[in-house]
């Protein structure tokens, strides 16, 4: 080919609200990458698009449903999980995916997150973890590393972060995996796997937030953070046999491994409302 050609449509344009593109996420932000993986997984899921529903709370990642050409619900901050539970239990044939961020799911939404995992409700969670509250300009979040700078921790974050895979494993999720935004094939695979795995599944994706977390913590831009991912990611197959759960904690400012992979894949009875066998 002499040069690149200009195209009218992207192969996945039918699954996104193309009349709303380009989207609002900053250059170098990883959310769009994961949204594309989600769209691709839907395409390959074999489930009619009409039965896919996506729910989010508030935050940068929570704008994903607005761009997905699906039945989409952009609910209130911290509440996508119960909203999704209502949808799923009322209409079980729906494939309900909660697509939201670290703050929305694990801080304000934390209570709902752990209880839904405990109950093992059949909803799929995609959690983009960019280590801060991006939408509001880069405040400290539940996964912000100890000592990291944000607009509300100008002297360094005085708090320990959540280790989300560990939290979800403890709470009862039947499938927990974590990738970085660079692991685009694995993300799509695990979302697809989640669609086929009954119960509460949780896929965490570490994604660059160049403006909110990168800049105050000396990560130049999105590509730089993706290079960090490439350099430091280590695949783990069995936790805690190979690696203690604590090792899964992430601090992008330190030159230490970022453990990725499928950490939990087990069977637990899926939540079913009580039905009397008449």
């Amino acid at each position: 080919m002499a040069h690149a050609l200009v195209a009218e449509k992207h192969p996945l344009d039918d699954l996104i609200r193309r009349d709303r593109m380009p989207h609002i996420w900053c250059p170098g932000c990883g959310i769009g990458i994961v949204m594309r993986c989600y769209a691709q997984a839907i395409l390959e899921s074999g489930i009619p698009v009409e039965r896919h529903v996506v729910v989010s709370g508030i935050g940068c990642t929570a704008r994903v449903p607005g761009y997905m050409n699906l039945d989409s619900y952009h609910a209130t901050h911290g509440r996508p999980v119960p909203f999704a539970i209502g949808l799923k239990l009322a209409k079980p044939e729906l494939m309900v995916t909660v697509f939201s961020g670290d703050g929305d799911l694990a801080a304000i939404g934390g209570n709902h997150l752990i209880h839904a995992a405990r109950r093992n409700v059949d909803i799929k969670i995609i959690c983009i973890n960019n280590f801060n509250y991006g939408m509001t300009g880069g405040q400290v979040g539940p996964t912000t590393p100890l000592g990291a700078k944000t607009t509300t921790t100008p002297y360094g974050n005085p708090e320990h972060p959540f280790n989300l895979p560990y939290l979800m494993a403890a709470a009862g999720a039947v499938f927990v995996s974590r990738w970085t935004a660079l692991h685009v094939r694995q993300i799509k695979e695990d979302i697809l796997y989640s669609f086929r795995k009954p119960g509460f599944t949780f896929v965490e994706v570490l994604a660059p937030c160049p403006v909110g977390f990168g800049r105050p913590n000396d990560i130049e831009d999105g590509v730089e953070e993706m290079r960090i991912y490439r350099r430091r990611s280590r695949l783990v197959y069995r936790v805690p046999d190979e690696m203690p759960w604590e090792a899964l904690e992430v601090d992008l400012r330190e030159e230490r491994p970022i453990y990725v992979g499928r950490f939990v894949d087990r069977e637990r009875e899926v939540f079913q409302p009580v039905r009397l066998r008449s």
């Binding site: 609200r17 709303r20 698009v49 009409e50 039965r51 529903v53 729910v55 508030i58 449903p65 607005g66 050409n69 699906l70 039945d71 989409s72 619900y73 952009h74 609910a75 209130t76 509440r79 999980v81 119960p82 909203f83 999704a84 539970i85 209502g86 949808l87 239990l89 009322a90 209409k91 044939e93 729906l94 209570n111 709902h112 209880h115 409302p273 009580v274 039905r275 009397l276 008449s278």
Partner: protein
């Protein structure tokens, strides 16, 4: 045993249970709740009965999760309800706004107890009535009904679902501990006599160009589309345009919020409910609601026996407030008395519309206001024969 949805017949039924049976009779098949005195018996009854009628009951981790799950279920097309009391009601306020903004119908039962705060968990109060109207943030309108008996716990829950579905709004049933915990005669009609107002559905099939929030009817209610019907609609709490897409312009906001408010005001006549007793030739009008209205009715009857021209206007719909009947009454009567189990809430709404001083009979809660203080107030205004003084004398 596949239970019957509608337990046609005459019952001697607990108020909370009657509320649950009303929901079932109305076709409610999703309930998410959280235990809280004095409404827990509603959830208990639902938990018992739903498996018989194919309903989905789930006890959530808190009241926020409960109301949000209810909105989610309703978005999937199922009639859904939660029940709580003051503290849980407060936790649900943000979600009331979400239901308003997404125009997703739902029913919230508030069995009020002594408030504020933990207050009197096992005793009555009516201190949440303004919160029902203004509890969430911003401009919006809802409907709220105040039952004064187990029979009305049944009837008004059905009405609440009908109004919610017909106008796509959250509707509240503002009961209180007395009405919720008393046991009384409840007549449940045959199934075909249970009124059912359906949700307005789209006239066009799914396809491009369909605008889910475009209003084409006078009633300002857009047809509702549910999850899984292929319309691929976006519902958001953000201000949105007719396609449901976020729109941050002031014009879009004013247009949308005005419509959401007008939608209730323009159709208020279909939502408003009230009852009168000995009001036709009354010169003193007592206004009351819920359990307090039972005492007010007795006080009015006693006053009549003393030859005092008193009458009772019982508010069944607190919101929308029955403005016309109150304004009309203002031309007929010399003085209004408002009896309510709080320190003066609905009285503000009455005063706003009658533009004359109103005498209050208040009690902060914990016990029903007996007939006597209301009768005393009636006699005071009757014998003085003069306009009531400026302030609200409390005879509580």
């Amino acid at each position: 045993m596949k239970g019957r949805g509608v337990l046609t017949g005459v019952h001697f039924m607990h108020g909370d249970h009657a509320c649950a049976e009303g929901a079932i009779a109305a076709g409610c098949r999703f309930f998410a709740g959280y235990p809280i005195t004095p409404s827990t018996e509603i959830a208990e009854r639902i938990a018992q009965r739903f498996p018989e009628v194919g309903g989905v009951f789930i006890q959530m981790e808190d009241e926020i999760a409960s109301i949000v799950a209810v909105i989610g279920a309703s978005a999937a097309g199922v009639r859904a309800m939660t029940a709580t009391s003051g503290p849980g009601f407060s936790l649900m306020m943000e979600s009331v706004g979400l239901a308003v903004m997404m125009e997703i119908p739902c029913v919230i039962v508030d069995v009020q107890r002594g408030s504020p705060s933990t207050g009197l968990p096992t005793l009555p109060g009516q201190g949440d009535v303004m919160q029902a109207r203004w509890g969430s943030h911003g401009d919006y309108e809802i409907a709220a009904y105040a039952p004064w008996s187990p029979q009305e716990m049944f009837d008004l829950t059905i009405l609440a679902f009908n109004v919610a579905d017909r106008f796509r709004i959250p509707v509240m049933v503002m009961a209180d501990e007395v009405v919720g915990h008393m046991v009384e005669r409840v007549v449940i009609p045959p199934e075909d006599q249970i009124p059912r107002w359906e949700r307005k559905r789209p006239r066009y099939p799914a396809g491009n160009g369909f605008k889910p929030f475009l209003v084409e009817d006078e009633d300002l209610v857009p047809p509702i589309v549910h999850a899984g019907e292929g319309y691929r609609v976006h519902f958001t709490g953000l201000t949105h345009d007719e396609r449901g897409y976020p729109d941050m312009s002031a014009e879009a906001h004013h247009r949308l919020v005005t419509r959401l408010v007008e939608k209730v005001r323009r159709n208020a006549s279909q939502m408003i409910r009230y009852d009168t007793y000995a009001l036709d030739d009354a010169k003193i009008a007592v206004i009351s609601y819920g359990c307090t209205a039972r005492s007010a009715r007795r006080a009015v009857a006693d006053a009549r026996r003393m030859g005092i021209p008193a009458g009772l206007l019982r508010l069944i719909s607190l919101w929308p407030f029955p403005v016309d009947v109150v304004r009309e009454l203002a031309r007929q009567v010399d003085v209004f008395i408002v009896a309510e189990m709080n320190l003066g809430q609905m009285i503000c709404e009455v005063e706003r519309h009658v533009c004359q001083p109103v005498k209050g009979v208040f009690h902060a809660g914990g016990a029903m206001i007996p007939p006597d203080p209301i009768l005393q107030a009636i006699r005071e205004v009757a014998f003085h024969g003069t306009r009531v003084g400026g302030g609200k004398a409390s005879a509580g």
